[in-house]
């Protein structure tokens, strides 16, 4: 039985390339290139595996900015059939993100919505539940494994203590974790083909004011001693002392 899947993907700034402005202490994000967020790759992989087994169509929706086309092409190369890029993303506003995504999803045909459980930049962990609420769909979250059959989707969720197995009838929202699968590296030919595929681009029209006001956004202060030894022997002696102290 084929299933149509909407995958929600994200572009994030390449975090390792963010430098700090030494005068203001603020991280500099201007000019930092964007990349395909890791859990979004897990989400696409999960969708592609379901499609490979059962058939169906995968539509990726990316709420970001115009640079998101690169990420969308990568998603195409992994097996996504159609892509919608919605511009107008604003950081730190999961409620807005969820409303924009839900509005788009409602216009599409789907049996499953798949997204990452907690993206690597903002880490809010809120979007899956908010999207499920907006769409009034069951939420199967933090899946470490997914099985589908006869319009029933079963997932295993690893909490801090237990592994919970649960199921829901489609349509449903699934959030995935890094343990769900290992995303594929698409072959070169597919990447070339993906570059020529059309991407639908739209501008977000939803407006929600952020109710919180940012007072400061600075790089965390590290108050470490930074005693660096190039004399290996001396360093080893010092470290042994530190470790002995910690063993007490």
């Amino acid at each position: 039985m084929p299933y149509d899947i909407v995958v929600l993907i994200k572009q994030i700034p390449d975090l390792e390339l963010i430098k700090v402005n030494q005068e203001t202490g603020e991280p500099i994000t201007d000019g930092v290139p964007f990349k395909f967020e890791n859990l979004s790759k897990n989400s696409v992989e999960a969708a592609v595996r379901i499609k490979e087994k059962n058939g169906g169509k995968i539509t990726a929706v990316l709420f970001g900015n115009e640079k998101g086309t690169q990420v969308m092409k990568e998603a195409y190369a992994m097996g996504v059939d159609e892509g919608v890029l919605i511009t107008g993303y604003s950081e730190n506003n999961p409620v807005l993100t969820a409303k924009v995504l839900a509005q788009k999803i409602k216009q599409l045909h789907y049996d499953l919505v798949i997204l990452g459980n907690q993206s690597a930049d903002s880490m809010s962990g809120m979007v899956a539940g908010l999207v499920a609420t907006e769409l009034n769909l069951p939420l199967l979250s933090n899946a470490v494994s997914i099985e589908v059959a006869d319009r029933i989707v079963k997932v295993s969720t690893a909490t801090e203590k237990d592994v919970i197995k649960s199921e829901a009838t489609m349509p449903a929202v699934i959030s995935v974790t890094q343990e769900t699968n290992e995303p594929r590296f698409p072959p070169v030919l597919q990447i070339i083909k993906a570059g020529k595929k059309n991407i639908t681009t739209e501008q977000s029209t939803v407006k929600i004011e952020n109710t919180s006001k940012i007072i400061s956004k600075k790089a965390p202060k590290s108050e470490r001693k930074r005693l660096i030894f190039e004399d290996v022997d001396k360093g080893a002696q010092e470290v042994a002392k530190v470790l002995k102290e910690a063993m007490k």
Partner: protein, 294 residues
């Protein structure tokens, strides 16, 4: 001020209750049976029984919030906690300030701190939000001598059917409780290298851990040993990073360590910025040396 707390893990429940003591009244909603939770001054403890379906729990909390005269909601940032918070937020149309590690209550507003940009920034913000998810480590665990009454409430069934709950295998690894953690990174070069690190782990009675590539990409260590934002968050007395370059993903998981030691070939590795003691050189030479001085 009256707080509604939800936590499905004991440690976070104890920390947040210790933190809120003296700041207002609070009721703890939990799925944990622990008797020890009664010693933290909660007005009462509501033990949630039945299957831990997130929609069911969030609906229950949402009803309690409306009828119980609560001002603020504090939810532990756990796998279930984050989902419960997001469903609660959706149901009640209240914005959540997620993943906070610091909170101050002003008159009418709240000032919070959390990490942004994957840990590259600390976002300090002021809001009128009423719901927060908090990271573990919000406060020390300070039990008192009170004895909160316990009542039970059944979790209503939701649209998601829970088929089975299996306890995770008795964990061999308990990184969160380790005094000393010896963590290896890509600089280890090969899986067999671990054998040469083990004498140090044993000598300091520590636990072995790894960075994301070591655990997730190369599988030199199991996934439950991964320290980092997407893995475990640890706070040992001493954290020894061997051949770890210090990507922000990793730093976010070990920033709370009391003392950080780094060993790396590259003098300019970012890990040295986050270390108290650093040794520049080959870890295969340095590790036996450290052992010999212990």
């Amino acid at each position: 001020m009256k707080f509604l707390i939800f936590s499905d893990i004991e440690d976070s429940a104890k920390q947040v209750m210790s933190f809120l003591k003296g700041k207002g009244d609070f009721v703890l909603y939990t799925t944990e049976k622990g008797e020890s939770l009664t010693k933290y001054g909660a007005q009462k403890i509501v033990l949630l029984t039945g299957k831990p379906e997130v929609k069911g729990i969030s609906s229950l909390l949402s009803d309690e919030f409306s009828s119980g005269g609560y001002d603020l909601v504090m939810i532990a940032s756990t796998v279930l906690g984050r989902d419960i918070a997001s469903l609660f937020s959706g149901q009640k149309s209240i914005e959540v300030i997620p993943e906070i590690f610091e909170i101050k209550f002003n008159s009418g507003t709240v000032t919070t701190k959390r990490y942004g940009l994957g840990g590259k920034a600390v976002i300090e913000e002021e809001s009128r939000s009423k719901v927060f998810t908090f990271l573990s480590g919000l406060s020390d665990d300070v039990p008192g001598d009170g004895s909160s009454p316990i009542e039970t409430k059944n979790i209503p069934e939701g649209v998601v059917k829970i088929l089975a709950i299996e306890q995770k295998k008795a964990k061999e690894v308990n990184l969160e409780k380790a005094n000393i953690i010896i963590a290896v990174g890509r600089g280890l070069g090969k899986m067999e290298g671990i054998q040469q690190i083990e004498p140090l782990v044993k000598a300091v009675r520590g636990e072995l851990a790894g960075s994301r590539p070591v655990c997730l990409d190369y599988h030199w260590l199991s996934e439950d040993r991964q320290v980092g934002y997407s893995g475990r968050t640890v706070k040992p007395k001493a954290y020894v990073a061997l051949g770890i370059s210090g990507q922000i993903q990793h730093i976010a998981g070990m920033r709370g360590s009391k003392v950080v030691v780094a060993v790396n070939k590259d003098k300019n590795a970012p890990i040295f910025q986050e270390a108290d003691y650093g040794i520049v050189g080959d870890l295969y030479q340095i590790v036996p040396k450290i052992v010999s001085y212990l």
